[in-house]
Symmetry: C2
Subunit: 196 residues, 2 copies
DNA sequence: ACTATTTTTTACCAAATGTCACAGGTCCCG
DNA sequence: CGGGACCTGTGACATTTGGTAAAAAATAGT
C-alpha cells in the first residue's frame, strides 16, 4: 500500500527505513467510490491527500454556477487545498472522485510534527509545492494561446489523463466550452485522415 | 531603508531586534534605472528581491516572440524566479524595471542559512509563497472569464498598479491584446457617460 | 521647448469561441 | 428490458477577440 508514496518520496529525498516507517504510521487510508467527495466547498481542509488508485477532479463553482476545474489528481499526485489547510479557512473547492479511488491522507498537524523531526520530509514537500507552483505559472502562460495549442499541449503532457476523464472536464480545465473542444477534436481527426 | 521590509515581515511573524538585525545584515541594496534588467532569460536566478521603490515586470518571450507578463512587482512585493533560484537552472523570465527602482536582495544561500537559525523566517517565506500560489490559482480561474470582467477585477485588486504601468503590459498580464484593452476602456467610459 | 520615439486609439474585417437547440449514444439501475 | 441521467457531436447564429494599418496622443531625452 505504501510502495507508491515511498517511491515518490525517494525520487526527491532519501529516507532511511525508520523514517519511512514513522511517515507511513502517520498516513490514513481512505477509499472513495465514484462521485463521492473528498472535500466540499465550505469545509476546512484538514489533510493533504496522495492518490494511490483512481482519480479526482478539483473544481470551484463560480458566480454563474459554472464548474471550473482547477486540477486533476491521479495516481502519484498530491491533491488538496493547501490554502484552506494551512490557514484553517473554508475552502472554495470541491474534490470529487471520477472513479473508485484510494488515497493516503495525512493530517496537517501530523505533517507539521514530522517536519520538525524529519527535515528531509519538509524538503520533499517544498519541492512538491514548488513544482505545483511552476505548473500553475506554465498554465497561466498557456492560457494566452489559442485553444487548439492548449489542447495539444494537454495531450502531450497528460495523455494518460485525457483517456480517463470526461471531455467536458478537460474542456473546463483548458478554459473552453465542451462544444469547442468537441469541434477541435473532429478537426484534428479530419486533418489526420488527410495526411494518411 | 529596512523599514518597509521589516514592517512586511512583522505582518506575518514576530522577530526580535537581534533577529531583525541578522536578517538585514544579509540584505543587499540594489538600484536599477528604468529599463534595466534585474534578471534576464538564461541567467540563473541567485537572489530573492524585495521591492522598496519603483516597479518591475516579469515576462517570458514565447515561441512567436511575444512578451507575456507573468507578474508585476511594486513596493512591498517579493519578485524573483523561485524555480530557477531553488533548482539552479536557467530562467525563462526577464525582470525589467518599469521605473527607477530599488530592491533589497538576498542570496539563496544566505536565506537558507537564516532559515536554520531563524525558523520564524522560514515560516514567513512559506506564507509568502503560499500567497503567491493562491494568487496564481485565482488568476487561472479568472482567465476563464471574458476580458471585461478580468480587467474589472484587475482594477479592483491592483488599482494602484494600473496607474503606473503601460496599458500594453496590463493587457499582456490579462492575456489580451492592447487593442482589445483599449476598446474595453473606451466602452467603459462610454457606459459611464450614459449612466451620468 | 522641440523632436524622436513610444504608446494609445480607432476603423474595418477576419477568425475564434460561445450559446442554444437538438440528436444520438452509453451506462446504470430498477 | 426500459427509462432516465449523463455525455458527446453538430449546426445555425451571436458575440468576442484578434489582425492590420493608420492616425492621434503622450512621453522621453536632449
Amino acid at each position: 500500500m505504501y510502495e507508491l508514496i515511498l517511491a515518490h518520496i525517494a525520487r526527491h529525498v532519501t529516507l532511511d527505513k525508520q523514517e519511512q516507517d514513522a511517515f507511513c504510521a502517520a498516513l490514513q487510508h481512505r477509499k472513495l467510490r465514484r462521485r463521492q467527495y473528498l472535500l466540499q466547498e465550505g469545509d476546512i481542509c484538514r489533510h493533504d491527500h496522495f492518490v494511490i488508485k483512481g482519480g479526482l477532479r478539483q473544481y470551484e463553482v463560480d458566480a454563474d454556477g459554472r464548474e471550473n476545474v482547477m486540477q486533476f489528481g491521479f495516481e502519484d499526485w498530491w491533491i488538496s487545498d493547501w490554502y484552506s489547510m494551512l490557514t484553517n479557512t473554508p475552502t472554495v473547492y470541491n474534490i470529487e472522485a471520477l472513479e473508485d479511488t484510494e488515497v493516503l491522507q495525512i493530517e496537517r498537524i501530523k505533517l507539521e510534527q514530522l517536519f520538525i523531526t524529519m527535515p528531509k520530509l519538509e524538503r520533499y514537500m517544498r519541492i512538491i509545492m514548488l513544482n505545483a507552483f511552476v505548473a500553475l505559472q506554465r498554465r497561466v502562460l498557456f492560457m494566452q494561446k489559442p485553444s487548439a495549442e492548449r489542447y495539444a499541449e494537454f495531450l502531450r503532457r497528460y495523455a494518460h489523463v485525457e483517456q480517463r476523464v470526461a471531455q467536458q472536464h478537460v474542456a473546463s480545465y483548458l478554459g473552453i466550452t465542451r462544444e469547442t473542444l468537441s469541434r477541435l477534436r473532429s478537426q484534428m481527426i479530419k486533418q489526420r485522415g488527410e495526411k494518411l
